[in-house]
Symmetry: C2
Subunit: 391 residues, 2 copies
């Protein structure tokens, strides 16, 4: 029999696609002793979390709460509740997480139409209008912030367009919530899911979801039961919203965490939060350019919080990432799917969107890239970032 | 816009059916900064958790790891991976969680045969032999520790019996792991799921699952895809066991927690852990009897960690539970389903299986019951418990 030793990890700075570092206040509340999932104190806390989530999503949607599992379960929750056999859905694919939505939708028995665009690009409304006209689906699914490419899908016009065709708009907001504007009601988004470990600066473990009244109507008028019992919104809702009917034991500590993460977001203010992400993006972008690293996403649609750059020719992905991790404790992300070994993903999100991290990762990258033979003017990355901050 | 104040709950002592209080060492590790879900340090930790889970389940099952969601998701994981349309399953129902298994199994498209026994009782092997002979199902599902009734289902003979009929034995070990013997390999259990918030003294949020080689073969020879993408063992396994293929972002902090909870279990030793639960059960049982409270479960099959007692005639459930919560910060559980308003469930599990809690809850219950008119000899509960400890 063997028992491993005390938890004693080397410290990390998480500048990948997520998990991003949790805010110290979030870590602190996580050692709070437990309470019961039906304790009146906990029920109050659930209401607070719902209210703050609505503020974060900028929505009045009544049906808004975190699913008791990670972001991918939120994606599945939206799919299995909105779709049943016989329904049609268009899934827009322009990166790894679009593919994910396609795969999960396929398990619902719905007819799934896949619309592809090059990785790193975004869809424009005319493309979407064409396919909506042809297919007239129940749901159109699209990723807001494509974590695999760093591309920022504009959604301002998409909801209105979908509603012309009586189509529900489902959006992956995993990497957008708490980093860039997410204006669900204004844009006419009908269902969205997110996570805790990125913009909200919490550990992974919950997936906030929200459904518009139109989406709720689609759910309540289903002919078949939702194929997942655990993710059945109608059942989970009875615990979160109405008679507090026991469904499963809520992950108490993660609710403490998201409550604190949402408090941090709202104390800062949404506009200030978005502006902070833009500021540090401007700096890291200037710095990465000075290091000779090009972005993968369309420059007009670059996410501030997720900077995906092409690995320079001749440079080995893992050599550099291992050196960053071992010498500096810095984690950045590798590429997913088609981008494996070709792309690095540098996340500057939530609590981690700070000048300290920008300067540090640029300095460390300079050292790592130089060590594998890249020619970089000494200090170029940091100098460019500081110039951007000054300008 | 409103932002709630700092997290500041009144302290609780959780003596219900779970969540039970987390051990202070578990709470402490939960404020450890995050690491990435593909960090070499984290991969090592995953291996450690798997190894310790196998020790806790007393199994050599390779396919053993925690699902990234709560216990009910573990139940669904077992059902959706083992069953596909056309399969037959017998679900043994003798309490609320048997009903749950029945409901979840029904969503798989399998033919579900429900075998009922009175709540509080357990099944004997002859009953099971009869139905296995008639049905010859792919799976037989049974709850080991029925949290709604406190009944302890013997499993020693059930695995062998199932294997005579080429049937897989699926067991709900949510309330048994870390409290009473769970000897999966010796008993021939093919699949089991548990939770973190009971015997393991962690917060809720993960569901350890384990599958025998026979169960794995059933999964790999499926004709259809698993209906849940998030709970698809074949996919999640690629992250936990083989090529570390990204499936979802593991709930890092909860993995820290279960690692610590398992360390605590193995440091104490399984036999010592089980004996401790028996010791404090003997004391609380004597005390509850002295307070005039009768158990709901068959006395020959009473769980030590979950003491379900009948609410005395004329006593209002909520009045007493509210007083316990408000005056003492003590949470005990109400009844579920058929037992709602009729039963209290007193959990003395994991870290909370201690003399302090036994004496405290007996003293507090005496005060609460007396306040609603029950006639109790002063100090009777504590006196009886202390006599049991002395004897």
């Amino acid at each position: 029999m063997s028992i491993p030793g005390q938890l004693n990890p080397s410290p990390r700075i998480l500048l990948g696609p997520g998990p991003s570092d949790a805010h110290p206040r979030v870590l602190s509340v996580m050692s709070t002793p437990l309470m019961g999932h039906l304790d009146p104190q906990f029920l109050t806390m659930m209401n607070e979390v719902q209210d703050m989530l609505r503020q974060a999503f900028i929505t009045k949607n009544h049906l808004t709460f975190p699913i008791s599992a990670t972001g991918m379960a939120g994606m599945e929750t939206c799919m299995v509740n909105l779709l049943e056999p016989g329904d049609k859905i268009i899934v827009c694919v322009k990166g790894f997480f679009g593919v994910r939505m396609f795969e999960i939708a396929q398990r619902t028995g719905a007819e799934v139409i896949r619309l592809d665009a090059p990785w790193g690009s975004v869809f424009d409304v005319n493309q979407l209008r064409d396919v909506l006209t042809k297919v007239r689906p129940k749901v159109l699914a699209i990723v807001h912030a494509e974590t695999s490419t760093g591309a920022w899908q504009p959604l301002e016009e998409v909801g209105k367009l979908c509603h012309e065709f009586d189509t529900l708009l489902l959006t992956d907001a995993v990497t957008s919530l708490g980093c860039i504007p997410v204006k669900l009601d204004e844009w006419g988004v009908d269902a969205a899911f997110s996570c805790t470990q990125k913009g909200l600066s919490c550990p992974p473990g919950l997936s906030p979801v929200t459904f518009s009244p139109r989406a709720v109507e689609a759910i309540t008028s289903r002919k078949t039961k939702v194929q997942s019992w655990y993710l059945d919104m109608g059942m989970v809702q009875k615990y979160w919203e109405s008679d507090r009917h026991y469904h499963h034991t809520a992950p108490i500590t993660m609710i403490y965490a998201i409550r604190e993460g949402l408090r941090l977001l709202l104390e800062e203010g949404l506009e200030a939060r978005w502006a902070r992400h833009q500021l540090h993006h401007k700096a890291i972008k200037a710095g990465l350019a000075a290091l000779g690293l090009d972005y993968t996403a369309d420059p007009k649609h670059q996410l501030p919080q997720l900077n995906a750059v092409k690995i320079p020719a001749g440079v080995d992905d893992l050599t550099v990432r291992k050196k960053l991790l071992n010498d500096f404790g810095i984690e950045i992300g590798g590429g997913l799917g088609d981008f494996k070994g070709k792309v690095w993903r540098i996340g500057i999100m939530g609590h981690n969107s700070r000048a300290n991290n920008v300067l540090l990762v640029l300095g460390a990258l300079e050292q790592c890239l130089t060590s594998v033979g890249c020619k970089i003017a000494p200090g170029a990355g940091v100098a460019a970032a500081n110039a951007a901050y000054a300008g």
